[in-house]
Amino acid sequence: MRKQNFFYLLILGLLASFMVACSAADNAANATDPEEEAVDATEESDSNEGSDGDTIKVGILHSLSGTMAISETSVQQAELLAIKEINENGGVLGKQLEPVIEDGASDWPTFAEKANKLLQQDEVATIFGGWTSASRKAMLPVVEEHNGLLFYPVQYEGMEASPNIFYTGAAPNQQIVPAVDWLLENRGDSFFLLGSDYVFPRTANAAIRAQLDNEGAELVGEEYTPLGHTDYNTVIAKIKNENPDVIFNTLNGDSNVAFFKQLKDAGISSDDMTVLSVSVAEEEIKGIGADVIEGHLTSWNYYQTTDTPENEEFVANYQEEYGEDAVTADPIEAGYFGVYLWAQAVEEAGTTNVDEVREAAKGISYEAPNGTVTIDGDNQHVYKTVRIGEVQSDGMISELWQTEEPVKPDPYLDEYDWASDLSESLAE
């Protein structure tokens, strides 16, 4: 009996020391009383987030483990590269940037937890992070509650504009809508929609359906497979049956490897049918194999081959830092210039105060590798050039078409008549 009691006593002791250690660590980090902290987090910290002496802390929150790590790690690297370059050029407001790295672990509540930690404990000036819509949706209430900033670098389905988030990836009208228009003009008007089963493909396809309907084009099929699905024989049989002109592909991750291999094995090449993908970039092509996907199309704002002096420098620097084989891609570039946009807004505002940075960021332009990007003050997305590209045998994507100038972001598709009654038309 006595020994068992001793055990319970030990737990008690451990628990007590754990709590004391925790609170001591908190106090050391913030040098304030716990009671004051609540006030601190909501009011005081607004004045000068992250500015601690000679450095400004910025949070980097991507999945470094789990299924999303393969994609998000390179975005994280690009962001660190931008921070390094900025620091070498004297930092921001004369202070060096100090990245605080956290792992979102491909798990959405973890993103919320770590965003909370970055804002409350480290009091970072801004967070660069996220990839999936789910991770962004998890972080949104956190950054809004603590009036933090988040720079989100990936194309997504739209329908969102938080005052605390800057979206440096493409809104649907900067990737999907122009791609459908281009396909209708150049490749035919019968479409097959194929996507992974989650929010982005489902919402994107809902918009595509409305758009096709409006253009009088034909939708011959729509299929969803679970994330990570690898057997596409049934879907390919259906595709063969329907024989569409275009497959609009919103598959994500590994599924693309399986789908393109099996499509090729089924004897369908890019000459027979065009597959346009919106989640396949240079990084993914490495995994799929260039010979398998050669000749198929993609729609993005940036390719490694994009011909601007800024891109030449960016690719050279990126490969110098991360090896000759490293490729750049759209989300990597969006993560990279996001850091510069933020730094520019902070310089403009003269402080890291979130409200002032947000105000200063309106209309700011930066010469990014993909061309000029400008922050739209209304929805905090950026003006970007849209590009349709074709996969080459060396794994690079060559541009077939691009918009004449950067396209104004329109996350809610307000500019399009066919989208105005999107919700009603879908209910039918």
């Binding site: 068992q4 737990i11 008690l12 491909s106 999936t132 949706k137 209430p141 919402t203």
Partner: protein, 360 residues
């Protein structure tokens, strides 16, 4: 005689009460952020107690408790979402093609209904599954596989019906609970206190349950189901009851989780979290009630601690922790002390043991 005084002062009950009081007092010396984390761990600990009743005491291994946790969490999240939109249509429904609130969402406008359903719904599903399987004497690994299949079905269903459940993004961005802002520090502290009290109650009642005759029957079923049947007990009834009870506890934990974390998505209820839940119980020591509580808090604290200190390689540390415990402490952390206990006892009474041995 000192021994007895020592025993009286440090009896289990006193220490458990002290732990309870210490947890209650935590808001005084933890920052809001850490308190919120601890609250989340304790919500997991509640679920672990329920799982221990089922696995540790009754010997039924369920790899599907994620969905009961999820059902409770979704019930609460649906209410919170409706509260945030003021009874209007949640944003994801609008752009998923719904024009009015679907029928199954309507009851969740009322918080009391949501709370009751958050416990009742997992319980009903567990009862149905348990009744059908246990009555047909499906047990052991077959039941485990069934419970795993249930997870797959439910997760696919939740991801697929985006217009009803928010799909893979789940439900998030909440506002108020009974009119209180869910994100404010005071409300969060209140949620924490509620979590501690619920944990205390669940622990106390479960302890009462297993200390008595009922607990003995459960252990009997675990160790010799057929013998219990021949003795005139109905193992299937007991198993169904415990399965239902542990599902209800999981639902309760899910509700407390959502209130404190502010998000629920299908990744939180899937196969991996379901297995993780069993790991907490195994790591802490099954069949002890306090073990799973320690396991849940320890594993999750380790997860947070490691990933904050070493964001690049923390998964290796966590893996190492699991391997070490499995290899060296097959009975979990509480097993370590039992072992140590036994050895001390043996030393004390080694002579008498030898005498006994010679008799037998």
């Amino acid at each position: 005689m000192q021994n007895t005084i020592y025993q009286k002062i440090w009896s289990q009950r006193v220490i458990l009460n002290l732990i309870f009081l210490l947890l209650l007092a935590a808001p005084l010396f933890l920052s809001d952020f850490r308190l919120n984390l601890l609250g989340k761990f304790l919500a997991f600990a509640i679920l672990a107690i329920g799982l221990d009743l089922l696995w540790g005491y009754t010997g039924v291994l369920s790899l599907g408790h994620g969905i009961f946790f999820g059902l409770g969490a979704y019930c609460m999240a649906m209410y919170l979402k409706l509260e945030a939109t003021g009874g209007g249509l949640p944003d994801f429904m609008a752009w998923s093609g719904m024009s009015e609130l679907p029928l199954i969402w309507i009851p969740f406008q009322y918080p009391i209904v949501a709370i009751i359903l958050g416990i009742l719904l997992p319980a009903i599903i567990a009862f149905m599954l348990g009744y059908l399987t246990f009555r047909n004497r499906i047990s052991g690994v077959y039941f485990t596989i069934l419970s795993q299949a249930l997870v797959l079905v439910v997760v696919t269903l939740f991801v697929g019906s985006q217009n009803l459940t928010g799909g893979s993004s789940g439900l998030t961005n909440f506002n108020t609970f009974f009119g209180f802002s869910v994100n404010s520090a005071t409300t969060q502290t209140a949620f924490y206190i509620i979590t501690v009290i619920v944990l205390g109650l669940v622990f106390f009642l479960s302890r009462k349950l297993v200390k008595g005759r009922f607990g003995k029957i459960l252990v009997g079923i675990r160790d010799g189901e057929n013998r219990m049947r021949f003795l005139g007990y109905s193992p299937s009834a007991y198993k169904t009851f415990i399965y239902t009870l542990s599902a209800a506890i999981a639902g309760l934990a899910g509700m407390l989780f959502v209130l404190q974390v502010g998000i629920i998505s299908p990744t939180m209820i899937g196969i991996i979290p379901s297995i993780e839940m069993v790991l907490w119980v195994a790591l802490g020591g099954r069949g002890t009630l306090i073990g799973p509580v320690i396991g849940a808090v320890l594993v999750n604290a380790a997860k947070t601690g490691f990933s904050e200190s070493y964001p690049d390689i923390w998964t290796y540390f966590l893996g190492l922790l699991f391997v070490l415990v499995v290899v060296f402490l097959p009975k979990g952390i509480t097993g370590l002390f039992e072992k140590w206990n036994d050895r001390r006892k043996k030393q004390d009474v080694s002579s008498s043991v030898e005498v006994e041995k010679s008799y037998s």
